[in-house]
């Protein structure tokens, strides 16, 4: 974390909205990417980002300067996304038979290599078949580039548990994606 960022965070912690705005401008894209990958839904991701920033504003006084601000924001985003998804999945169970990502082509299980395949969509389906912990660990490691220790800290689990989540996620993803390699 740069000195400038530290200074901005300190100002935001004192209630300086302009300083907090700087942080929102800086981190919005990354938080959206994470929220979208966690939720698999654009509208949900937008809501999660907003809610996460509001939480961050409330808690910014608790942030410790010796840790990574990006990791701290990611932890808030992950927690917000989990809360959001649990609530919405519960609601959707009553309202609609299937969540949005389920409407994607389920042929991911046995893809037709002879046709044009949207690998991104197949990956999304495979990703959403992972458990919450597996998906979160894999996203933070694979896409966000956090170290295993950082992922464990963000998820508030042990390093060993974090590794196991990543291993299980990788194993499942490989099985789902293997048939697409030839294409």
């Amino acid at each position: 974390m740069t000195r400038i960022e530290q200074k901005i965070i300190r100002k935001a912690a004192k209630g300086d909205r302009a300083a907090f705005r700087e942080l929102v401008l800086e981190h919005s894209h990354a938080m959206f990417r994470l929220a979208w990958r966690l939720s698999g839904d654009q509208n949900a991701a937008e809501d999660i980002v907003q809610e996460a920033f509001i939480k961050a504003w409330r808690k910014i006084g608790e942030f410790r300067m010796d840790s990574s601000f990006k990791s701290w924001l990611h932890r808030i985003t992950v927690n917000t996304a989990m809360d959001y998804l649990r609530k919405h999945v519960r609601r959707k169970q009553f309202e609609t038979p299937e969540p949005e990502f389920e409407t994607l082509d389920r042929a991911a299980d046995v893809p037709d290599t002879g046709t044009q395949i949207d690998i991104s969509r197949q990956t999304q389906v495979a990703m959403m078949d992972l458990s919450e912990a597996e998906r979160t660990a894999l996203l933070l490691k694979h896409y966000e580039g956090h170290s295993i220790q950082e992922v464990a800290r963000i998820m508030e689990i042990t390093t060993g548990a974090c590794k196991q989540n990543i291993f299980r996620a990788v194993k499942k993803m490989r099985i789902a994606l293997r048939p697409l390699v030839a294409t």
Binding site: A13, K14, G15, R17, F20, R21, V24, L25, E26, H27, S28, H29, F32, R33, W36, R37, Q42, A45, E46, D47, I48, V49, Q50, E51, F53, I54, W57, R58, G61, T80, D83, Y84, K87, R91, I119, S120, T123, Q124, M127, K141, H142, Y143, S147, I148, K163, I166, F167, V170, K171, M173, R174, L177, R178, L180, V181
Partner: protein, 260 residues
């Protein structure tokens, strides 16, 4: 020699393996190289999982959407510490930009008159009349009791309305314009009652009403513009205790002979 597992290769792929010799061993072994290449090819496919692009001004859009919801530090949604202090008072004063219906405006005007009357009739220093017969009830004390009862009754009615609106709020997923309008009216009424309670020396009631204010502010100013997630959080916080406290306080106010 230790068997190399897929977990080892996964750690190698992510640059997290403890053994610096592992990469050399994989490079030297055809079988390990094939396994590692397969893993790389499969995991690299996952890179295609890319979110939809946001525009350059996405950060500004996010800011625009959340700015109105950023409560000043120390004036959190339903924080217990947010008693009606100078800071909250100042903030409230700056926030109260009436958007009442005509009926709402009339009811607020009535509440204002009532609160003013209650405030004026609040406890004052007892005037001792040395000529008064022993055991006589001072007229001032009677006036205090009457104004206290009037305040209790008025606040009870107010809490019934709050209870109704909160119950409706926690049981509906969509914000209606009525909801924010009622909340705005109740916010102003709540503030006036709180001031009346302070003037009457009923600090417990004043503190309770002060606790309600942040919630009414959020309902009035944030529920409509906030995201579904914000609404759900607020609903949960109301369900988690505030609704119960409103009901308990109202019950206490309605108990005969018990001063709150």
């Amino acid at each position: 020699m230790k068997h190399i597992t897929d977990e080892d290769l996964t750690l190698l792929f992510y640059g997290e393996h403890d053994d610096p010799e592992l990469a050399v061993r994989v490079a030297e072994s055809e079988e390990l190289s094939d396994r590692y290449d397969a893993l790389c090819a499969e995991l690299k496919l996952a890179d295609a999982y890319q979110p939809p692009q946001r525009g350059d001004d996405y950060g500004a859009e996010v800011w625009q959407r959340i700015e109105s919801q950023l409560v000043a530090p120390g004036v959190g949604a339903f924080r217990r510490e947010s008693k009606a202090g100078g800071r909250l008072g100042d903030w409230l004063a700056s926030l109260v930009q009436p958007r009442f219906s005509l009926a709402g405006a009339l009811s607020i005007a009535l509440v204002a008159v009532l609160a003013f009357t209650l405030g004026r009739n609040g406890p004052q220093e007892a005037i001792i009349n040395p000529n008064a017969p022993a055991g006589a009830t001072p007229a001032m004390a009677m006036a205090d009791i009457d104004s206290s009862r009037l305040l209790t009754h008025s606040v009870s009615t107010h809490l019934e309305q709050v209870n109704l609106v909160l119950t409706q709020f926690v049981n509906t997923s969509e914000t209606s314009s009525n909801e924010t309008e009622y909340a705005t009216d109740m916010l102003v009424a709540n503030r006036l009652y709180r001031q009346a309670a302070v003037q009457q020396g009923n600090h417990k009631l004043a503190a309770f009403l002060a606790d309600l204010e942040p919630l009414l502010i959020e309902l009035a100013y944030q529920a409509q513009s906030g995201s579904p997630a914000t609404r759900e959080r607020m609903q949960q916080e109301v369900k988690d205790g505030l609704l119960f406290r409103v009901r308990v306080m109202n019950k206490q106010l309605n108990k005969p002979e018990i001063s709150v």
